[in-house]
Symmetry: C2
Subunit: 476 residues, 2 copies
């Protein structure tokens, strides 16, 4: 195998907000962190896919501050070295131009000759070999100073995507000059594009030298560029986070396509027949998952009679369906979606409505991942709350105390090491212990199997924010 080119870096954009795959996605568990397709989550699949071309230490992930901690935790399991997968955190999301610019100044600092491969964290790629092959061609073109975008050959007159019109073709590489970018077309125009053979879907996958993209940002987005210069100076200083926040607070939301690519004359398109799908809504599953004989995609605890062309996902509870046609049903422990397929884009409106009503179902799942494992809320009542805590072997919660609640712990599997004030003792399955209010305590799995604890909280206020951390392995 060829050694990996040290100059090549992957930048994965992972700031998605988790609205379009609600209720499976949540603000704190967006699409890129879901296992909708196959074995692993989309962002982990994205990383694995690019590892043949880029070393793990050359992979950066751009996300927002809110998600950064959870995302880092999410990638723990596939890290081989401590410095694999750098997380670059934006203070707020401002679309792709600032995200790419920010990543570029980070890369430039370490290696001004870097070539950036910009990827989305939540796209599906059916043909991974073809994907790597086309990226290699794109890299060659990028080395000459071009901005290269991967163009996907249309297979239907899709009106939901932007298109790229391709011009002159390099005979050897097949890469073509871009004549123009076009907005989402109407169905007649899309049909014409499809038939012409010179139009490609804009995949959002880009390859360019850091110096080239920064040069074009300077030319076409001078305000962004001057902000990036400020950030560049602050990198690795104690002001870094503060300056990023200051700069971002003044930036406008802008896509790299609109801000740079539509204006630059250095843009090339690499035709890519890679089984690409951006999985933009529940109905996109029809493009990427297999169907049963009735055209359904059915997963989980489902009993169906005579449904057709429907997507039915259940997590654990029983979902019974009869005679559906072109429907999407998604069941989770705290929320169920029932939607006509052609209205799948409106899921976003449901999420907006939940925010407006101040509900939590748009934000988090009943089960919340933590660095030490996970907890699941089983029931909230008047002055009590019941949780199941699952603590991985070696996992340790922070030393903490609560001002408004006491906690009863019953161990149902594994062995818990409990610190209560100055005492340290072990609690085994079918044993329990009690932590009074305002008492310092800590919980640790010192064993080899999962520690599971049923926690019954009593108190006048039971919010997650009633926690004073005295010491924490995870620096929270």
């Amino acid at each position: 195998m060829q050694p990996l080119n040290k100059n090549i870096h992957a930048v994965i954009l992972a700031g998605g907000t988790g609205t379009r795959f609600w209720p499976l996605s949540r603000e704190r568990s967006p699409k890129q962190m879901l296992k909708i397709f196959g074995e692993d989550t989309m962002i982990r699949q994205t990383i694995k896919r690019i590892c043949g071309l880029v070393s793990e230490q050359n992979i950066s992930i751009v996300t927002n501050e809110r998600l950064a901690f959870d995302l880092n935790l999410h990638l723990e399991g596939i890290k081989r070295r401590k410095d694999d997968f750098k997380i670059i955190a934006e203070s707020i999301g401002r679309n792709t131009a600032p995200a790419i610019g920010l990543a570029a100044v980070y890369l430039k600092k370490n290696n001004p000759d870097s070539i950036m491969v910009v990827l989305s964290s939540d796209h599906s790629i059916g043909n991974e070999k073809a994907f790597i092959d086309v990226l290699k061609k794109a890299i060659k073109s990028a080395e000459k100073g071009n901005l290269v975008t991967l163009g996907v050959k249309p297979v239907r007159p899709e009106t939901g995507y932007g298109y790229i019109k391709a011009g002159v073709r390099n005979q050897k590489s097949g890469i073509r000059k871009v004549e123009k970018f076009t907005e989402k077309p109407d169905i007649k125009t899309a049909q014409r594009y499809l038939e012409s053979g010179n139009y490609f879907w804009n995949s959002g996958i880009f390859v360019w030298k850091v110096s080239a993209i920064l040069g074009e940002i300077k030319k076409y987005m001078p305000l962004l560029y001057s902000g990036l210069l400020k950030i560049e100076k602050a990198l690795a200083t104690k002001n870094e986070r503060k300056i990023i926040e200051e700069v971002y607070s003044e930036l406008e939301s802008q896509s790299i396509d609109y801000g740079v690519l539509e204006k630059s004359n250095k843009v090339m398109v690499a035709p890519a027949d890679i089984g690409w799908c951006d999985v933009g809504s529940w109905t996109a599953l029809d493009d990427v998952l297999p169907h049963d004989d009735n055209g359904n995609i059915i997963k989980g605890n489902v009993v169906d009679i005579a449904s057709k062309d429907s997507i039915i996902f259940s997590s654990d509870r029983l979902v019974a369906t009869i005679g559906l046609k072109n429907m999407v049903i998604v069941d989770t422990p705290d929320a169920t979606l029932v939607c006509e397929k052609h209205r799948a884009q409106d899921v976003k409106k449901i999420v907006d409505e939940l925010k407006r009503r101040g509900k939590e179902e748009h934000l988090i799942h009943k089960t919340v991942e933590r660095p030490w494992g996970a907890y699941t809320v089983l029931e909230c009542g008047d002055r009590y709350k019941i949780k199941r805590l699952a603590i991985k072997p070696g996992g340790r919660l922070s030393m903490q105390l609560h001002r408004h609640r006491s906690e009863h712990w019953v161990v149902v599997s594994g062995t818990a090491r409990v610190t209560k004030d100055t005492e340290v003792y072990d609690v085994h399955p079918n044993e329990s212990t009690y932590i009074p209010m305002s008492t310092k305590h800590r919980l640790e799995n010192i064993g080899k199997v999962l520690l599971q604890i049923i926690e019954v909280q009593n108190g006048e206020y039971l919010g997650e924010d009633d926690i004073e951390r005295i010491d924490d392995d995870y620096n929270r």
Copy 2:
């Protein structure tokens, strides 16, 4: 007010199996015990409705042995005297002819001059005054030895009901001779019936003298009659239950309509304009509940966008619906139904399939009523189970022990009096106690407010049948 006629008895048939309103109905919580319409359950509404005509002590309810205990419990709250609402238990359901015959021999024993008003426990009656008025007329006719059935004036060409063709009309009472009963018609025939004005829906509400119906059973169903004679002899002896079981094991399923009414020449129909609906499936709700501007019936925690003509019920979890048309969605804590309206009859098939798979979701809800209150299963895991127990003031569980599980109890509201072997002690909110395996124990609410306990069970076997009852207030 007129004193109630002591000879008049109501017999309420309540053997329904809870399939057609699944998942809200379950085998152990059938339709008659649900509050689908308004304030109270259907059987309690049935009882209240008839109380203007019949004294509580003259009301009998025929059900099967499996349901008898729960039904009795269910009616506790509306009893004024200990002997209100006699429960007559069949060993197994054998359709209406045996149920009515059995009730008749019970009534005959106490009062051979009894007049039976036979009611269903799960019908909706919109106009209660008209209902009582027509029953009074029917009673007058029954006193002359007639078998009177209430006939509902059709308002649409319904193909799901049986029809009665009416003949000669009594000028004073409006009651008419029955010419014939007909099976469920096709749509063309139903249209003709509707237009003729001489056809009525067979409501399943009957009035007759005990002696009259037994006489006709003797004539047209001699096998049933000889079985009833055996039961009659055994009534109030120690053999009563055994003989009922023996007789029922040899009876065929038969409706009173087919077995007697279609053959007898004593049958009269009392035209009844009483807002009757048999509420035979989810779609029947469209006849009895109010709709919003889009033709929907929506109850519970629902966020909807642009649905039309749909029935959407949620208990507690969030249900989000988009763009539905003519759908039925029913969400419960452990199961969700999503069904096209015109397939609502197929809900029965789902229940059959669940039985076949050995699932529990057709049988019971997560919350199970008990004489002392209720329990809710919050989670079942490997070797552990979590329940919330809610014990009414004055409620006391049996003295019991378990061979395969120990129990941790955390009190979250109220005060628990706990008996553990020979110890008796009180446990208050935010306190806990532990019951080891094979230890006699009892739980009692000695306070004035609801006692709520979180129970964490540990053990190798956690079935409800691991219980040895040493003493029980409720004779279980």
